[in-house]
Symmetry: C2
Subunit: 194 residues, 2 copies
Amino acid sequence: MKHSKNRKDEIYAVAAKLFRKRGYVASTMRDIAELVGIEPSSLYSHIKSKEEILINICSNCANEFDEGMDVILNSNKTNPKKVEALVDLHLDIAYNKPSSVTVFNDEWRHLPEKDLHLFLEKRNAYEANFKSILRDGMHKSEFIEMSESTAFHLIINSVKWIHYYSKKMTQDQLELKRKEIKYFISRGLGLKTN
Amino acid sequence: MKHSKNRKDEIYAVAAKLFRKRGYVASTMRDIAELVGIEPSSLYSHIKSKEEILINICSNCANEFDEGMDVILNSNKTNPKKVEALVDLHLDIAYNKPSSVTVFNDEWRHLPEKDLHLFLEKRNAYEANFKSILRDGMHKSEFIEMSESTAFHLIINSVKWIHYYSKKMTQDQLELKRKEIKYFISRGLGLKTN
DNA sequence: CCTACCGATCGGTAGG
DNA sequence: CCTACCGATCGGTAGG
């Protein structure tokens, strides 16, 4: 059991790396097996299917974002501070789990229909929460007035490239990027402070 | 011959749309054939291979960016105006050819080795040109001082989501987004004007 | 542009 | 965890 659990984790980790590098569809069970060091059919002693791997990577990642969002929503931070915390959330996950995040960002469309549906629902809810912070901040003149949707995409995409580079980045280099990204977003949103 | 040319264009257009929707690897020649309305094997009267389609989409798109970059580099605009022109370039291509741009952005890694090598070289050259404008602008204090690399990624990713939505967007809606994106970037780069 | 077809490779199963 | 194997599907070719 313990051994099997380790194997399972290993399979997931190897698969996430491979999916990140080649994409989900182009990654084969034979590739994964070879990287793990077992025969392809042996994978099925630990996992149910290739799709199951994708489903788990995506839903684990979604949960991490959701939990972060919950903490931030329930905090008594100002809206600018909430946005800053969201940037931190994205950067930390991207730095600590670059493979999972890349799969989450780029491979979700290959989820089977039911999971895809759930995924998109969760993603829409996350986006709605993010926008509610932006909207509230604009109403209170904490941010410059602009389209919530545009602001959302601008902020999220200011952060959405780190995971491609985080494997080549030290913690110190990340912190430098973090500051620059935050300043850029703060100025972009029209904050005088910081 | 004329008929054949139209068919070829049609195949490329259909393939680009499908690659955008499903990804290159998950799109089959049978899918493309069905959308065109011919038998799968008939595709090969007009094209050489599936890879050839990807190669052409990517290189056409790369050329469009390169030509835009050349015009901007050889203009006598100020650096902020050059950045603004680059933003326009990206937005216009994203709006007018959303399928090609998506394939160019997300599917290039499936290029065969030689073409992949060429692609990455071109992409690096483009990035170097982009950064040279940023560097020059920082030296002249037209922009706030920051890492060229970070600035590059922040600007490019402020624009790199439009192509996912441009099919649902009218020209007027694009122009609104364009303004907001430009303001955001201008403020992010520390420009007082605009 | 079609009919007919092929070798390669895929995800996955049976049985131990 | 392995050996042996399978049906489905892939990109592509031969020949007309």
